[in-house]
Amino acid sequence: MRPGFFLREAWRSIRANAAISVAATVTVMIAVFILGAVIPSFLYVQSTVDKQKDRLDISVYISDSATNAQVQGLSDRLEQMKGEGLVKSYSYVSKDDALKELKGRLNNPDIIELLPSNPLPASFKVLPTDPERNPDIAARLQDSPALDRTLENGISYAKETSDRLLKILKVIQIAGVVLIGVLLVASVLLIGNTIRLSIFARRREVEVMRLVGATNWFIRWPFVIEGIICGVIGAAAAILLIWGAKIAVVDDFVRSNTDGSLTRDEATTIGFVWLGLILIVAGGLVGALGSGITLRRFLKV
């Protein structure tokens, strides 16, 4: 088609309805700004929870009296579950390793020396692919003769913690999606309203265009582009604001967080460039969608 012509037409329309266009642009800016704040926070929380999830491992305690063959059998089953994708990884922790680890955690390691022998069992540390399936993994190890049944029937995993964490994660996910959805729908409606006013302000002009033989889409394109321009400019303004906020607030906050509690879990979030790209595209889509919907309703042949 004729992008240059339609772009000029769209720009003419924006200038003609400057006040309305600015209003729409500002609303998109606000929505995209919130979106731009929500996305990285949401991803940060998600990543934190994901990292927590990695801690939801299973301990499989091995009896001191287990034979090498029995231990090998246990290890074979784990290997098989790894092949099936149920288990992400597993490692063997010997009695000595267990004791060393315990020593490391005690305030007064010397009391260990008082023990006549090492009371800790050897174990497998099993990292599940999906902690929700921990019970399945446990069930498939339950009947192994190698288990040390004096300790939690031989298999322990943090059932409570994992359930709670997973629930929190789901709630956060749903809340994030709902919030973002509401914001996007609101922006679409606001852009739609702007385009409706723009069509209304130019209805006589549109009539004339029809009379000189303009097709429906020839008349529509400038309005669609008008919506996209409002969306993209609004998004660009929001990105500037977010950038300012990042420099002024977030970076400062991270720097002052000397104990590393924010970055402790190596939780990550989205990079600024990617965020910007996503927001610009979102702004453009919101604009196109808003004007598209309105045009279908108010600019029929």
């Binding site: 004729r2 240059g4 004339v208 029809r210 009379l211 000189v212 033989g213 303009a214 429906n216």
Partner: protein
């Protein structure tokens, strides 16, 4: 017809810039060919009735035919149905009863999506000009070309040409509200004719103009008619009609009361 053979040549799938240009040209031919009267008349009205609501009648049983290349005056008192007649031609509205056939096309059966192409083939000078308010004279005329998908280079060539034809070469950058009524009228004529339509309809193009300007516009329409364009002009201007001695269709309360060739505004009563 030449347009058909042109369409046949399109068989081979074409690529690239040159091909795109030729395809555009193809499409233009296609659009113009919407008005294809062949050897038949340019316009046929068959028992056309147009009612507005319950009791207002615009046209009341009009049947007539106008050949390609004719120059026709549509006369009658205010409210006699001239504008109604004209608005039926470009399907600004549809008749309550009867058929309107333009360029061999039954407008009642024409798909909505084809109407823009119909309108490109008909130049229309509206009673109230219908210029686009926020645009310069140049852009107003350019718009009628943009609609057809004409390229910018050709638009830059055609607009000044037509502006000089209507004597507005020096006013291209003016906005419509910076022009006198007669000047706006001429812009409207320029826009109607810039696509060189086969049919030009003008609703009182000399209304509110001084006699000299009226004659100027009349001459312009006459010149356009001489290029083969069918011209239909609604008017109250008795002197003008009398001077031109063209076909006159007289309307009265929506009915054709007189249809004469080489006629005067009113029947001569000796």
């Amino acid at each position: 017809m030449s347009t058909d053979s042109a369409a046949d040549q399109q068989a081979a799938p074409a690529t690239g810039r040159a091909a795109r240009r030729s395809r555009d040209a193809e499409r233009r031919i296609d659009r113009r060919s919407l008005l294809r009267p062949g050897d038949g008349p340019m316009i046929v009205f068959e028992g056309v009735v147009k009612r507005y609501g319950k009791d207002a009648v615009g046209l009341d049983g009009v049947s007539l035919s106008i050949d390609a290349g004719e120059f026709v005056f549509l006369v009658g008192a205010s409210g006699s149905g001239k504008s109604t007649f004209i608005r039926l031609l470009n399907r600004e509205m549809e008749p309550t009863e009867g058929r309107v056939i333009v360029g061999g096309r039954d407008l009642g059966r024409m798909r909505r999506s084809k109407v823009p192409y119909l309108r490109r083939g008909i130049g229309c000078v509206f009673q109230d000009f219908k210029l686009l308010p926020g645009r310069s004279v140049y852009d107003n005329i350019g718009y009628a070309l943009e609609v057809t998908g004409d390229n910018p280079r050709s638009i830059r060539r055609k607009v000044p040409e037509i502006l000089s034809l209507v004597g507005l070469s020096d006013k291209g950058e003016r906005l419509p509200n910076e022009l006198s009524g007669g000047e706006q009228q001429r812009v409207s004529i320029a826009r109607a004719f810039v696509n060189h339509p086969r049919l030009l309809i003008a609703d009182e193009p000399t209304g509110n103009l001084d006699p000299d300007t009226s004659i100027g516009i009349m001459q312009l329409l006459y010149r356009i008619n001489r290029t083969g364009t069918t011209v239909i002009m609604a008017t109250h201007d008795r002197d003008l009609v009398d001077k031109m001695q063209m076909r006159v269709i007289a309307l009265e309360r929506g009915k054709v009361v007189r249809d004469e060739r080489q006629a005067r505004y009113a029947t001569v009563e000796p």
